[in-house]
């Protein structure tokens, strides 16, 4: 009997609590799906932390996780647009490999040997990066043209691209690995030098917090101007506080990860600093590739939500015929999407080349699947019309967390693949259930 009463009262308590939760969600206008993803991420993190006896949630591991996620996260922001318009891009991994080769050869062979640049010339990294970006955009434009104007299905064009660009990456150097990269170029890959240090990390964190607060304020002012319903003040304060806390918390984590002793020693010798008793603490700060990924995420979020182009992308995904009848040049929009995707693949190529300090012809193999999985786990619907950039980036982080967590636990590679595959399928299944319940 007691059991029954307690469970009953617990149920009642839960019901009233749900009411409060629902009211809270309504007031703050938080996307429940996104909240679910964050929850899943936290569960995974804490789970790995416990299983690995406290190795997962350390500044060192989280910092590495952020760097490892950035390449896929950058591409996932573009894949959202591709999938939202009911297309797919299977070529991004191969494209990354080819562009990486182009950038590698440009900075190690073409510029120093053919054009006579001296090694370490500060323009080398810029020219190499620019060359890669141009190649990425041109290839994206070419594939987009085939899809939009010649009407070849995206699946086929990019499946062809998957083979073509992988082969092309091989041809650039007949399969030889290109190394080492230019010293400045290498900063895009992270590492002690490829991070911005404690002070600048705090500066960026504070600037981001100010930006968040200004955005909340201007949103509120806009709503007031047109007399739309406002969020309660406590909800605004709550949103601002949580967001700023997350930002500053991330900065704090990045600033808690010190340079390895060897690097500190070299740095101290080079700068005539005597290392004090107990070692010198020099923080990494936020890694440059992570900043690039965050910038890509912010810019792509802006593009999808605040520009005409983004609006058209979603309208095409919702109803291609209606978009066409509304006077949207759907073909040109589709071609532009693939150009953006090519550009982002080139940025990812720069990050991964810099991180490897080499360009290899196998670079980016199977990345297309990780990128698509990240976008889909992040809530992008393959039926088109639905998806967010932030969700896709969280999806990339989630996939990478799984992988690096399993590495920490010493799980065999084949088993890792099995787990990642299962998680992908289960995540999409849960999402389907969620959407059905919401409707």
């Amino acid at each position: 009997m007691t059991d029954v009463t307690t469970s009953e009262s617990a149920d009642r308590a839960r019901a009233s609590e749900l009411g409060a939760v629902a009211r809270f969600l309504k007031a703050t206008e938080i996307d429940t799906r996104m909240l679910g993803m964050v929850g899943a991420l936290l569960v995974i993190w804490i789970g790995f932390h416990i299983l690995s006896n406290g190795l997962f949630l350390t500044p060192r591991n989280l910092w590495n996780l952020s760097v490892q996620s950035s390449s896929v996260a950058v591409m996932a922001t573009g894949m959202v647009l591709v999938i939202v318009t009911r297309n797919i891009d299977l070529s991004v991994g191969s494209l990354l490999g080819f562009v990486a080769m182009i950038m590698g050869v440009t900075q190690t062979v073409f510029l120093p040997r053919v054009m006579g640049f001296s090694l370490g010339d500060p323009t080398i990294w810029m020219i190499a990066l620019a060359a890669g970006l141009v190649v990425g955009v041109v290839i994206g434009a070419f594939q987009g043209f085939l899809i939009a104007y010649l009407g070849i299905p995206a699946f086929i064009v990019t499946l062809g691209g998957l083979l073509v660009w992988r082969g092309a990456a091989w041809w650039v150097t007949s399969g030889q690995t290109v190394a080492p990269m230019d010293a400045t170029f290498r900063l895009m890959g992270g590492g002690p030098e490829g991070a911005i240090g404690a002070t600048w990390s705090w500066v960026i964190g504070l600037v981001a917090c100010v930006a968040v607060i200004l955005m909340l304020l201007s949103g509120r002012r806009q709503r007031k101007r047109f007399k739309f319903p406002l969020r309660p003040v406590w909800a605004e304060v709550f949103l601002g506080t949580v967001t700023c806390a997350v930002i500053l918390g991330a900065v704090w984590v990045a600033n808690s990860y010190p340079w390895p002793a060897g690097t500190v020693k070299k740095y101290a010798e080079a700068n005539n600093i005597t290392i004090p008793e107990g070692g010198l603490f020099i923080a990494h700060g936020i890694a440059i590739p992570v900043l690039m990924a965050i910038a890509a995420g912010i810019i792509m979020t802006f593009v999808t939500t605040r520009t005409r182009f983004g609006r058209y992308v979603f309208a095409i995904g919702g109803n291609p015929e209606a978009a066409e009848l509304a006077g949207i040049n759907t073909r040109w929009v589709t071609m532009k999407i693939f150009m953006v995707m090519g550009f982002l693949a080139a940025i990812s190529a720069a990050i991964s080349t810099a991180r490897l300090n080499a360009a290899t012809n196998a670079q980016g193999t199977l990345d297309e699947l990780l990128v698509i999985a990240a976008a889909v786990i992040g809530g992008t619907s393959l039926a088109g019309g639905v998806g967010t950039v932030a969700g896709a980036m969280l999806g990339a982080l989630l996939m990478q967390s799984l992988q690096s967590g399993m590495v920490l636990l010493g799980v065999d590679t084949p088993l890792q693949n099995i787990v990642v595959g299962l998680v992908l399928v289960v995540a999409v299944w849960l999402d389907t259930l969620y959407r059905r319940r919401v409707q």
Partner: protein
């Protein structure tokens, strides 16, 4: 109605074929300012196809289109909108995954000084126009897929009249509506007509449109059976045109009628 003035729209000898089937064959129809012309015919008679040529959804194989007496080339929906031709499609042609305001302004978004979307201004304008059409409409934040048939219809109509259309095409505008909403659409047609807008009403049901239309144009098998002023013909005669292709004395016969007579 001054029938001698330059017509707002004059479509002459329009033809289009899909894979050997002549969907529209040598059809001519005109429309004056402040006039309602009903295009009637069975499903598959070619009326929707003819009108989609005017709205830019299809490219014609032959014939010419004049707007205000000047020949125009309409190759896509953007061209048609440029000439003030707005269309409410039978399928409504809404992007289901975005909200009402985004649909109203699709292809013609309001932008801020920095070139970004001015969603707040668009929503305010949407509330304004929807308030006139359908005062009970409140679901501005939801994607239109969540709306009822009548609400979706209101969005489609609002989109067409928002941008000062001069020529309005309504393809089966009341197909998804209840009696009350149908009456509302009737009122709207009269109001727009009084504003000097020319309206093509497309329907397969003569009762829907006979009282609203100034003239009827009947199509059968892709050809025009005949055109008549509604005051010169009876509903039964128009039914005869639709079903048999028989042109009554009060109507001007088209190529479709002669083919039947021969």
């Amino acid at each position: 109605m001054d029938q001698t003035s330059t017509p707002l729209v004059d479509m002459k000898n329009i033809s289009i074929a899909f894979g050997g089937i002549r969907a529209v064959d040598d059809a001519s129809v005109d429309l004056h300012a402040g006039e309602v012309v009903a295009l009637l015919g069975h499903n598959g008679a070619g009326k929707s196809t003819l009108i989609k040529i005017l709205s830019g959804a299809y490219k014609r194989d032959g014939g010419s289109i004049f707007v205000n007496g000047e020949e125009v080339s309409i190759g896509n929906p953007r061209d048609a909108k440029k000439y003030g031709i707005e269309t409410i499609y039978q399928t409504l042609a809404l992007a289901d995954n975005v909200d009402a305001a985004a649909n109203l302004f699709l292809g013609r978004e309001l932008r801020t000084a920095w070139g970004t979307l001015d969603d707040v201004a668009m929503e305010a304008e949407a509330r304004n126009v929807m308030g006139r059409l359908n005062p009970r409409f409140q679901r501005f934040k939801e994607p239109v897929s969540k709306l009822s048939g009548g609400q979706r219809q209101s969005v489609a109509i609002a989109r067409a009249i928002l941008f000062n259309a001069r020529i309005l095409i309504m393809d089966e505008p009341t197909a998804a509506l209840g009696p009350q909403e149908t009456a509302q659409v009737g009122e709207l047609v009269k109001q727009l007509k009084a504003d000097g807008i020319g309206i093509f009403l497309i329907s397969h049901d003569i009762h829907d449109v006979f009282d609203l239309a100034d003239r009827v144009c009947v199509m059968k098998n892709g050809q025009v059976v005949g055109t008549a002023r509604t005051q010169d013909v009876t509903k039964d005669e128009v039914l005869g045109m639709i079903i048999l292709g028989k042109c009554p004395p009060g109507a001007i016969p088209g190529p479709g009628a002669m083919a039947i007579a021969a």
